[in-house]
Amino acid sequence: MNSFFSAFFAWLPNVQLAHFLIVSAVLFSLGLYGIMTRRNAILVLMGVELVLNAANINFIAFSRYGGANLDGQAAAVFVIILAAAEAAVALAIVLNIYHRFQTVNVDEISNLKE
């Protein structure tokens, strides 16, 4: 175990692909956490954005370290575009919900259930 940690700490300062990936993983997890826990719909959407950003970091990191092909960057471009489109639609829906229910707390909008 000790050897694992010593290797790990020795590895830490030498930034390379995995460092970015781990940042991405943590960002992804934070995004998930936000989606799961925030009552406010807009905060939930923020969580979604975090998840997408995490994926993008992956794409770009892999693009950089994976033999310099730009597919990853291209993909990231599309992800950003889609994030914008999705955010627009989602916000419109949230506004609509607000008009209808006078709340944007996702957990309160649960008429459809078993």
Binding site: L32, I35, M36, T37, V44, V106, D107, S110, N111, L112, K113, E114
Partner: protein, 690 residues
């Protein structure tokens, strides 16, 4: 007459009553006099033909068995067996020919008697129709040369017995008795049927002659002598049921709920004798062990029912127990090997017992009329304690009745003396051959008892003063149509019709005709051979005659002493031995026993199964449901769903798990997401670990 003609004649005899039945059942009510003449003339014709057949058979073919066979079902080439046919047919040997006459004769007489006795009955034509179907089925038993048809006839007489016992079905007791008769008989039939199955499974034929030949050639069922014994005993089970042998004798006394002529015909002379006939038919295949058992069953039956008869007060019940007792005698006779004697007793007993029943019928008829005149509907016309002094009122009935009683008691010059004596001699022979002396002891004791209770009956019914003087005025002799049959039967109770020697039947035509057939079973399990047995039988003859005369005399004397001269008080004895008396009055408790154990047991069992079916199997769910119903979250919904159709436990479980699974659908999207991410991780770890 050619053999074919004889056979055809006998088939005509068989079919005639069936034709009568069919006509009567459909058109009986519309015929003049409701068709009694039709049925009666048909059966009378049958009688004439039967006598012809018997005569011709005796004259022309005294030792042959005439057979007429036809293929009933053809199984063609059966795998593993080869060609197989079920051949049925009729056979006439001396046994059958004699039975043919006995059955038709008594049937004819009973028909005539019934015309008088049943006058004005609401189902008069139905009654005659049933008599027709009975005659048909009984004749079928007689003529069958194979077990299958025998069984068919066997069941059909059961049916007709059921119908006739239940003739007055408005009476609960009558319909109960009918049912009891049928069901108790069926218990015996199970054995009979299993016996048939054993034989068929091995020999692939129902034909008795073929079965005997097969056994004779050394092929025995399942290669085991015990199976052969078992087959014999199981077939005898049929006889136990039909001939009311211990322990299935309980139905016969109850069967007295039927009209008295029916009792005479079916429950005294013919049907109940079918069991004896069956044993006689299958006699060659009985092993020594089987015969021993048969003998003991017969003896026990004879003894038990004779003792019960002593305590009975119903005229027909006394006769019923006497019938059982006499049947036990016959069975015992066959069992000990006295084939001829046993069957001979069947014939003689048929005459005098039919007579006794018809006589009692005449008495009841008279009593009934008298009571009817008095508008008395409470007094039991069958209870001998209400009778007495009928001798003068009904002379013909009395005299004929006395003759029958003498015959059954075994007084010399009567037919009963000869046959009974012969059986007793057989038992003595058996005793000396096998060392089983209990059987002759019972035999003689029962002979004494028989004489005693029969004379008790005669005395209480006909002697002394009538119990009710007013009623006595209305008592009349029965009409001619009823008394003539009585006289005929009385005549037939004399020795002369059976043998020229009143003391020994051995040389009579009937004994000549009925030679004991040789056993076909392997020698190691066979009973004493005919030769040996006849030797012993002959030796025992004189001893038996003496002893039987003695015990009969004693029995008669005690009867007169107790009931006529009142030297001994019957009541006092009853009081002194109140325990045994009650025991006898209670018929040894058999009815209670069966009611309590068998019938209630079965009913309890059926109810248990019903409960089991409704609760365990079917309601695995509905039951499980009731437990779960309590739990809160299932709530009232569950009930309706269960009733709506969760058919079994699995359905319940699936419904239940559906209910649980529903809980995942909370309506909160973030909860869903937790589930999703959780599942993703779960899959990931599950597959990593695998």
């Amino acid at each position: 007459m050619s053999q074919e003609l004889l056979l055809n004649l006998s088939i005509v005899i068989l079919v005639l009553p069936l034709v009568g039945f069919t006509l009567m059942i459909f058109f009986g009510k519309r015929l003049p006099r409701q068709g009694d003449w039709l049925e009666t003339s048909i059966i009378a014709t049958a009688l004439i033909l039967a006598v012809t057949v018997l005569y011709q058979k005796m004259m022309l073919y005294p030792h042959e068995t005439l057979a007429l066979n036809f293929t009933w079902v053809d199984f063609h080439d059966v795998p593993g067996i080869g060609p197989m046919k079920i051949v049925l047919g009729f056979g006439i040997d001396n046994l059958a020919a004699i039975m043919l006459v006995v059955v038709t004769l008594i049937s004819t007489l009973v028909h005539f008697f019934s015309i008088g006795y049943m006058q004005g009955d609401i189902r008069y034509s139905r009654y005659f129709a049933y008599l027709g179907i009975f005659s048909f089925s009984m004749l079928m038993i007689v003529l069958a040369d194979n077990l299958f048809m025998l069984y068919v006839g066997w069941e059909l007489v059961g049916l007709s017995s059921y119908l006739l016992i239940g003739h007055w079905y408005e009476k609960q007791s009558a319909s109960n008795a009918a049912m009891k008769a049928f069901i108790v008989n069926r218990v015996g039939d199970i054995g009979f049927f299993i016996g048939i199955m054993i034989l068929f499974a091995n020999f692939h034929t129902f034909n008795l002659q073929e079965i005997f030949e097969a056994i004779h050639s050394g092929r025995i069922p399942f290669n085991s002598e015990s199976w052969l014994t078992a087959a014999g005993i199981l077939i005898f089970c049929g006889a136990i049921g039909k001939s009311a042998q211990f322990p299935l004798h309980v139905w016969l006394p109850d069967a007295m709920e039927g009209p008295t002529p029916v009792s005479a015909l079916i429950h005294a002379a013919t049907m109940v004798a079918a069991g004896v006939y069956l044993v006689a038919r299958t006699f060659p295949m009985m092993t020594a062990d089987a015969l021993m058992l048969i003998a003991y069953i017969g003896a026990i039956t004879a003894f038990i029912s004779a003792t019960i008869a002593i305590a009975q007060n119903d005229i027909k019940k006394v006769l019923a127990y006497s019938t059982i007792s006499q049947l036990g005698y016959m069975v015992m006779g066959l069992g000990v090997g006295a084939y001829t004697a046993g069957f001979f007793h069947l014939v003689t007993h048929a005459m005098f017992k039919a007579g006794l029943f018809l006589g009692s019928g005449s008495v009841i008829h008279g009593m009934h009329h008298a009571l009817h005149h008095q508008h008395d509907h409470h007094t039991d016309p069958q209870d001998i304690r209400n009778m007495g002094g009928l001798k003068s009122k009904m002379p013909v009935t009395y005299w004929t009745f006395l003759i029958y009683t003498l015959a059954i008691s075994g007084v010399p010059l009567t037919s009963g003396f000869m046959s009974k004596d012969s059986i007793l001699a057989g038992t003595l022979a058996f005793g000396s051959l096998t060392g089983q002396y209990l059987i002759p002891i019972i035999g003689f004791f029962v002979a004494g008892l028989t004489a005693f209770y029969m004379f008790r009956l005669v005395i209480l019914t006909f002697y002394g003063e009538h119990k009710d003087a007013h009623r006595a005025e209305h008592l009349h002799e029965s009409p001619k149509i009823m008394t003539v049959p009585l006289m005929i039967l009385a005549a037939l109770s004399f020795f002369i019709f059976y043998s020229s020697n009143p003391l020994d039947a051995a040389n009579g035509w009937i004994s000549k005709a009925l030679e004991r057939p040789e056993s076909v079973v392997p020698a190691s399990v066979a009973a004493a051979s005919t030769e040996v047995f006849e030797e012993e039988h002959h030796h025992a003859h004189n001893t038996a005659m003496m002893l039987s005369l003695l015990v009969a005399g004693i029995g008669i004397a005690i009867a007169f002493a107790m009931y006529h001269w009142k030297k001994i008080s019957a009541d006092k004895i009853a009081e002194t031995f109140s325990g045994p008396h009650k025991f006898l009055l209670n018929k040894w408790g058999f009815d209670d026993l069966y009611m309590g154990v068998v019938v209630n047991g079965t009913l309890a069992m059926t109810n248990m199964w019903k409960w089991f079916d409704n609760t365990i199997i079917d309601g695995a769910v509905n039951g499980a449901g009731s437990i779960t119903k309590v739990t809160s979250f299932v709530s009232g919904k569950f009930d309706s769903i269960v009733i709506d159709g969760l058919v079994n436990l699995s359905a319940y479980l699936s419904g239940f798990s559906g209910l649980v699974l529903r809980k995942f659908q909370t309506g909160k999207v973030q909860t869903y997401i937790v589930f999703v991410v959780f599942s993703v991780m779960a899959f990931y770890f599950a597959f990593r670990l695998l």
